[in-house]
Amino acid sequence: MIEADSISFRYHEDWVLKEISFRVERGEFVGVIGPNGSGKTTLLKILYRLLSPQKGEIFFERIPMKKMDRTDIAKKIAVVAQETQILFPFSVLETVLMGRSPYIGHFMFESEKDLEISKRAMGWTNILPFSERSIDELSGGERKRVFIARALSQEPEVILLDEPTANLDIHHQMDFLNLILTLNRERGLTIVMASHDMNLASEFCDRLILLQEGRIYKMGTPEEVITKEHIESVYGCEVWIDQNPISGMPRISLLKKGGIQR
């Protein structure tokens, strides 16, 4: 579905991404992990063409993305950013309806059908009860759901998530990722998620891409990527890796200095 062919990108002098190639298949849940500054967010921005790579190209269903226009991309790929502030207090429903933007042509108002699609998205994300509330009155977890509903209103095939669980407590983290997993499994949405939380990524993702200084260090299933050797080499700190006793997925425990002798 998405194919990155040897892409390199730089903002100024230094290359932030170096010859990155990978594929994301339809219906996959892919995690992008790596230390601060390894290029996770930049990679995501390239995937929705906010940035264009100076070398290489991204193909979306075999079409080079430079040949797609903004509205085409917005109909296929939706993004949920880390934190979204809206200057003036729009209601939840108004915010979700903004996701219909790529489908609204020169006639500037949403149709009944647009409203129906947005309401359905709000049903999936369970935010219908407060559709009239102003967006600035919501808690962090509720806001996240609103922006997922806005993304779903775009009727996309892919959703890109940038650090979706940052600033959420564990209840809301699980709530949010379970919702994403349901959308992935039941509605066939392809998910690409950049995350700092490797335990969550290991639990939820089918495949992980581990970045180090703009290159892919390792790509594969969580079992293949999250090993003591890889993590210690990329992050440069001591960790202990075993299995989550319930799911059997790799689990990382952090160790303080000298904590490995036990």
């Binding site: 929705y48 906010l50 200057l87 209601s91 108004e94 309806l97 903004m98 933007s101 790529p102």
Partner: protein
């Protein structure tokens, strides 16, 4: 908050048009020369129908050549400043932005003051033309310095605007300090906003800019909503953000330049009207722009009516009235917003 639909925009616009017409009618019936209200309205309607029945020649002149053009001009300026203020608030993503924030007003003022000092205001269009040129040069200068890598950068634009504005303010103060007493009065009145020079030709000069600019902005009103959540978000939703910023900056600036060139710096309207309309009707630009235009027009006509009648025959600068009435009203709105949110 009710959703903004085509039907709601249309209904409210028609209602607000009635309000505007009412304000215009009231405004032409009062003034320092006492003409009974019904006769004033008859004079207006009969002349609209091409008749010449009611009133004396003097009364007709007062209504048709003085009060009516003045009300219409104030209406255009009020609408223009309000729409331009709403746009700058979205473009710069700053609720404190107003039509003058990027220095357009200071440029216009330098142009106007130069015209006054050089005696150009003796010619019928010397003053508005000079101030329009001053405003345009400022718009271009701010645009030139306010970009990075060919793109409009809201923070850079704001910084460039504020700095160029302060430089021009220094020029204004310099000119004021060297000017003669009789010129000083004209300058100060111009700086506070003044409709006493209004005539039909002034309307003809500015209405194309205000209508065209307003139309261009209205076409992009839905995208202005999206840019309120940040440029990356708007791009992600399929908006051509660079074009949006370019068109809205130039349209709002042209509207401002045209408005200030005929009546000087009328403060407060461009800040307070968009915010009041947001508090009443919500932040969606598809309703905000037409509602701000119509309410801004009504507000400025009403303010100007007060300005010319409160201490008649002495005229107050209209800026005194907009600030004195607008401020408390805005605070009242802030306190009661919950009640009127469901309109």
């Amino acid at each position: 908050m009710k959703l903004v639909t085509a039907k709601r925009v249309l209904t409210l616009s028609i209602l607000l048009c009635f309000l505007l017409i009412l304000v215009i009618l009231v405004s032409i019936t009062i003034g320092s020369v006492n003409i009974p209200p019904f006769r004033s309205i008859r004079i207006l309607f009969e002349s609209l129908l091409g008749l010449k029945g009611a009133g004396s020649e003097t009364e007709r002149t007062i209504i048709l050549s003085l009060r009516l053009p003045r009300a219409i001009l104030a209406g255009f300026v009020g609408a223009g400043l309000s729409v331009s203020g709403a746009t700058f608030q979205a473009l710069l993503r700053n609720p404190l932005a107003d039509p003058y924030i990027l220095g357009v007003s200071s440029g216009a003022a330098v142009g106007a003051i130069l015209a006054i000092l050089l005696g150009l205001n003796a010619f019928s269009f010397g003053l508005p033309l000079a101030s329009f040129l001053g405003a345009l040069l400022t718009v271009l200068a701010v645009f030139y310095f306010g970009r990075q890598g060919g793109k409009i950068h809201p923070h850079t634009l704001l910084l460039a605007g504020v700095i160029i504005g302060s430089f021009l303010s220094a020029l204004i103060m310099f000119f004021i300090s060297v000017s003669q007493k009789e010129e000083l009065h004209t300058i100060i009145f111009w700086l506070m906003g003044d409709f006493s020079f209004s005539n039909t030709r002034a309307i003809l000069i500015i209405f194309p800019y205000i209508l065209l600019g307003g139309f261009l902005l209205y076409l992009r009103s839905r995208h202005l909503n999206l840019i309120l959540s940040g440029e990356e978000n708007a791009i992600q939703l399929g908006v051509n953000v660079e074009k949006l910023k370019l068109v809205s900056y130039l349209s709002a600036s042209l509207i401002t330049a045209a408005s200030v060139s005929v009546c000087g710096l009328i403060g407060f309207v461009g800040l307070i009207i968009p915010h009041s309309v947001r508090l009443i009707f919500g932040p969606d630009h598809r309703l905000l722009i037409p509602a701000s235009a119509l309410i801004g027009a009504s507000f400025l006509i009403a303010s100007d009516t007060f300005a010319r009648t409160l201490l008649a025959p002495t005229e107050l600068p209209v800026g005194v009235i907009t600030a004195a009435f607008g401020g408390p009203f805005f605070i009242y709105l802030l306190r009661t917003r919950k009640v009127i949110k469901s309109l």
